[in-house]
């Protein structure tokens, strides 16, 4: 009576969420980082609402990207350090399912939290209320895509000492398309024109990454776990 794929997926998901909520400070830090980075820009630029609104999508998205990148490093590192990652690999369940569950749990904890906080940042950056829906949808898709790309980067750099700088160096070039489409969608939503085109492209990118990235992350883990 071995455990089915879905049961294993749910079990790993519950394990990750349970572990994350045992250390709430780890969850709050990326959010605070996101808020701090977005308050830097108005201080650095000017507080003219028109200029701020012009800058808002880019600022919001770059801050969200960097905040999620910050927490990606811990995706496999804590498990690798205490030896549980090996047990997960040898658990008899496909590593694809385990990586799928771990990355989704990481997104729920970091990406989704960013999306929930983004209205606060949106009002701070003078983004009109009407654009909130598109902004949050594009952020959700974007951070999910980034979590998958980050899973590949984390898989490759899990064993390295100063891995997190290398992780950003590897993941950011791959994340540029989603920044372009995401900021583009938010920008159009602000200016009132329909952001459907950019959202469709972002959605397509998200689906592509969600299906292919776990394979790459799985083989990345096998390489570094040897």
């Amino acid at each position: 009576m071995s455990v089915g794929v879905w049961a294993a997926f749910v079990l790993v998901l519950r394990r990750e969420l349970c572990l994350s909520f045992r250390r709430p400070d780890q969850l709050i830090q990326p959010l605070v980082f996101f808020l701090i980075v977005t308050t830097l820009f108005p201080l650095g630029l000017s507080v003219q609402l028109t200029l701020l609104r012009e800058m808002a999508p880019g600022v919001l998205w770059v801050a969200a990207l960097l905040a999620s990148l910050l927490s990606l490093d811990a995706l496999f590192k804590s498990d690798a350090d205490d030896g549980t990652l090996e047990q997960l690999v040898l658990s008899g369940q496909g590593l694809y399912v385990i990586v799928l569950a771990k990355t989704l749990a990481h997104w729920l904890v970091s990406g989704a939290a960013l999306v929930l906080v983004s209205p606060v940042v949106g009002t701070a950056l003078a983004i009109p209320l009407t654009a909130f829906a598109t902004m949050m949808l594009s952020l959700a898709l974007g951070t999910l895509t980034l979590s998958w790309l980050g899973a590949i980067g984390a898989g490759l750099t899990v064993g390295l000492k100063r891995g997190n700088v290398l992780l950003s160096l590897i993941v950011l070039p791959l994340a540029m398309p989603l920044l372009i489409f995401g900021a583009g969608a938010t920008d159009r939503a602000i200016s009132g024109t329909s952001a459907a085109g950019a959202l469709y492209l972002l959605g397509a990118l998200c689906v592509l990454t969600c299906t292919l990235a776990p394979f790459a992350a799985t083989s990345a883990l096998r390489i570094t776990l040897e």
């Binding site: 590949i152 398309p177 083989s219 990345a220």
Partner: protein
């Protein structure tokens, strides 16, 4: 049935073949690039729109093409090595990376010099140059990942995987940058594209392409021998290879 491929991919034969090909590639490359440069700079007629500034294409286009070709070669070699566990694939990938990165840099510099008269600045976020810049970041990522592992064979495999992920993303990046550029490019600025060229302008360009490819072959063969030696240090055949030229 793949025995000839495995024999060809065996380290000693790769080393010998690379050593034999280098002089041929080098002399041919020198001749072809020489002719191409003379033709491009002196013989080809100036462009009706950009005048003689357009001659920069004879060094920019081949570099840009080579930067992409080298990345694809690196990804394919890495893929072969990862899937069929042929170590020489990693040697080829490791040898190709710095060459490709240097030509990406060449494409960026010549591209911005070419754009200067048109745009009034050295960098106007032209879509082609922007994707070339991101390609350079991809190169740097792969070249930074390979030596980060103590065990060289693990570093090779990690770099191979990253280059495969990268090569899948190159078209996506190119498309998204073009899409992004059409978003902000209100004014119609003469793009850096290759205008449809009459024969007298085209053949020097093709010559330069051939010359750069031959040069790439030569440098790859030289670097490949170094990579093979680094990976086969204990092998028996290495002892004779070291003594002979």
């Amino acid at each position: 049935m793949w025995t000839w491929f495995y024999r060809l991919a065996s380290p000693p034969s790769v080393y010998r073949v690379a050593a034999a090909l280098t002089p041929w590639f080098l002399t041919l490359a020198a001749i072809v690039i020489g002719c191409g440069l003379i033709a491009g700079l002196a013989i080809a007629p100036p462009d009706y729109q950009q005048g003689d500034a357009f001659r920069i294409i004879y060094v920019h286009a081949p570099s840009a093409w080579l930067s992409l070709f080298a990345y694809t070669t690196m990804a394919v070699a890495g893929g072969i090595a990862l899937i069929w566990r042929i170590k020489m694939g990693h040697a080829v990938a490791a040898a190709t990376a710095p060459i490709g990165a240097s030509f990406t840099l060449a494409a960026l510099v010549t591209g911005s010099l070419w754009g200067r008269p048109m745009w009034g600045t050295y960098w106007a976020w032209d879509p082609r140059l922007t994707s070339e810049l991101i390609l350079l970041f991809l190169y740097v990522g792969v070249m930074a990942l390979r030596p980060a592992f103590e065990d060289p064979s693990r570093g090779d495999r990690a770099a191979a995987l990253l280059s495969i992920v990268g090569v899948v993303n190159v078209p996506i990046i190119k498309y998204s940058v073009v899409w992004w550029n059409s978003l902000h490019q209100a004014a119609t600025v003469a793009k850096l594209g290759r205008p449809s060229m009459p024969g007298s302008m085209l053949w020097p360009l093709l010559t330069m392409f051939l010359g750069f490819m031959l040069f790439y072959g030569a440098v790859l063969c030289i670097r490949l021998r170094g990579e093979v030696l680094n990976r086969e240090r204990q092998a028996v055949w290495v002892r004779e290879a070291i003594k002979s030229r």
